[in-house]
Amino acid sequence: MKKRSVRLWGILLGAVIALTGCVEGGTPPETSNSGGTGEVAASDETIKVGILHSLSGTMAISEVSVKDAEMLAIEEINAAGGVLGKQIEPVIEDGASDWPTFAEKAGKLLQQDKVAAVFGGWTSASRKAMLPVFEQNKGLLFYPVQYEGLESSPNIFYTGATTNQQIVPSVTWLLENRGKTFYLLGSDYVFPKTANQVIKAQLAAEGGEVVGEEYTPLGHTDYSTIISKIKAAKPDVVYNTLNGDSNVAFFKQLKDAGITSEQMTTLSVSVAEEEIRGIGADVLKGHLASWNYYQTTDTPENKTFVEKYKEKYGADRVTADPIEAGYVAVYLWKAAVEKAGSTDVEKVREAAKGLEFDAPEGKVTVDGENQHIYKTVRIGEVQEDGQFKELWNSGSPVKPDPYLKTYEWGASLSNQ
């Protein structure tokens, strides 16, 4: 009797495992090519949109809260009457921190669910994987994260910063305020490598010097050797383009090695309020970051945004730049659809040109040429409570220049 029940348990467990396996594997994209144009596809009552982020895997740490912000925006819009009189119906998919999965799920959303737009992605690798899918299916992607630039697709709206709205001004600021020697540390994939190409070109032009350059695999956790190398190189600034969990290990070990923010500045472009929660404010205190938005950014829109976000997801939650950019993306899409009077991708794109929106970060404007948006640049210092204090900002929104055409030293980069 006992033995039998144990075996039963075993079979049951096996079945559950098999089931989870199926779910993880996901449904294959539909092969029947209906040539989705993004035209309103759902029932008469709703408009379907896709939400495609990593809800599992190494990037889940960052992407889950962006999904939360997008859901908040959709909920608010629905409560206020929806878009074109219809409710928005989100279809959530998990990209699982795996680039082929992102492409596959994007195909599924466009062909099977026939969504009007997709909000999603974080790593550049995931965006690069989705790009051909959106171009082939004539879909529309809103990408909410700062990235390395040198790209613009008619089927993507970039609501995060491009290099000249985050990295380039921060390097200039560091050269003026912190010193001339830079150590470049990043994760081993497309964003940090391209970002560092830009930084190196800029440093060469503006009189800075690179004293070291290191890349570690995503998920790398032992930084003791790299910290020894940094100590030996004695840079004024460590420019940090590490992504995801590695930041936790790097900053904890940096502190234990006896290096404080007073002795050496680090400036990060992928560490925001959300990441500080996992690393610990005491560890990061005094270190810098460059973004377009902080939870402490002082605008009336931001005050309501932070309040609503905390009300919905808990008082201990924080907002951050990509979270805000995800939230803004949904509203920009709504405004464009209403202006166009349709969800047809071509009409929405046309309508989006020059569109303005009072975002939590301040006024943003869609650039009609490259579909990026004008954003204000802000350099912040981590405080004891895990929030940023703004040290500098660009004053007015900066025009997006993904190919760095307006910089002399940028000419060699955009030809690559």
């Binding site: 989870t20 889940a60 234990d256």
Partner: protein
């Protein structure tokens, strides 16, 4: 010179972490021949047990006690991971002995389930575990050389765990029973040893050590649902290189990989350093397929 001393210490420190994560595997994989892909998740459970302990101390204990929470967390992490490991053995692995591929797939599935469970309970983002203040900072030998206290603590912890394991396996009667079962199951059974109970016990101990590793890892890295996946490959690498079934082998394997990894990383980069280590291991296993310290038993002949 500074660099050399620092790197020697870093190498030793990496070795000690590798050893800690591989010790539990040396028991379950080395002694029991179970390929437990959920070992990484048992490490994660140890880490989350530490996190929960910390929060309980913050919420319910007097502030002054916070300094000792980490010492309390060690046995708790061991206990929780051991309990879950024991349940895993009773419910699942017991039915898969002698079928290494089946147990590999089943435990891999369990690992994914445990990860998702952690994500449901604690959320996808990392949680912060702050270390007690006596572990902050480092021992300054000279201006350029600072040995972080945390790393020293981990090295000491590994030494203690290793000693306890040695004493348990070679000096207690229950450890003797364990060795008997692993060496010749049917003969041990004939002599009146409850092999099932020993199996469960052994698996629980291996899992418990993974829990301690998880507790120690909260000092140096991120604590998230996928914590275990970073370390699982390294752990298998150490056990296979060291030679399956021998404690000494695991120690040598960890020291070798840790030291060479640091050495290669110093002169190349993190990615290339790791590749070089893998190349060396593959080459070494060509030459000595049974690893550094081969066990001489009839079952392997």
């Amino acid at each position: 010179m500074d660099m050399f001393v620092l790197q020697m210490f870093n190498g030793l420190s990496i070795s000690s972490i590798l050893l800690l994560i591989a010790l539990g595997l040396a028991v379950t994989f080395g002694l029991m021949n179970v390929i437990n892909m959920a070992h990484g998740e048992l490490i994660m459970i140890g880490a989350y047990a530490t996190y929960v302990t910390q929060n309980l101390f913050i919420s319910y204990a007097p502030a002054a006690w916070f300094e000792v929470y980490f010492i309390v967390a060690l046995p708790i992490a061991f206990g929780v991971a051991a309990l879950i490991g024991w349940l895993l053995e009773v419910i699942l692995i017991r039915h898969l002995y002698g079928r290494p591929l089946d147990s590999l797939l089943a435990t891999w599935g369990v690992g994914m389930m445990l990860q998702q469970l952690a994500r449901t309970i604690f959320g996808a983002p990392n949680v912060g575990v702050s270390s007690p203040s006596w572990l902050n900072g480092g021992l300054a030998i000279s201006d350029g050389i600072v040995f972080p206290y945390k790393r020293i603590f981990i090295i000491a912890l590994v030494a203690v765990v290793l000693l306890c394991m040695y004493l348990y396996i070679y000096r207690t009667s229950s450890g003797r029973r364990m060795r008997a079962v692993m060496q010749n199951r049917s003969m041990a059974g004939c002599l009146g040893i409850s092999t099932r109970r020993v199996d469960g016990m052994t698996f629980a101990i291996g899992s418990g050590i993974a829990g301690i590793a998880g507790c120690a890892l909260t000092l140096i890295g991120p604590i998230g649902p996928s914590l275990g996946t970073y370390y699982i490959v390294d752990a298998f690498m150490v056990v296979v290189l060291g030679g399956v079934g021998k404690l000494v082998g695991t120690v040598c394997g960890a020291l070798g990989i840790g030291m060479f990894n640091t050495l290669f990383e110093t002169y190349t980069s993190a990615s290339i350093g790791k590749v070089l280590v893998f190349v060396c291991i593959v080459a070494f296993l060509q030459w000595k397929p049974r690893g550094l310290v081969a066990m001489r038993t009839r079952s392997l002949d």
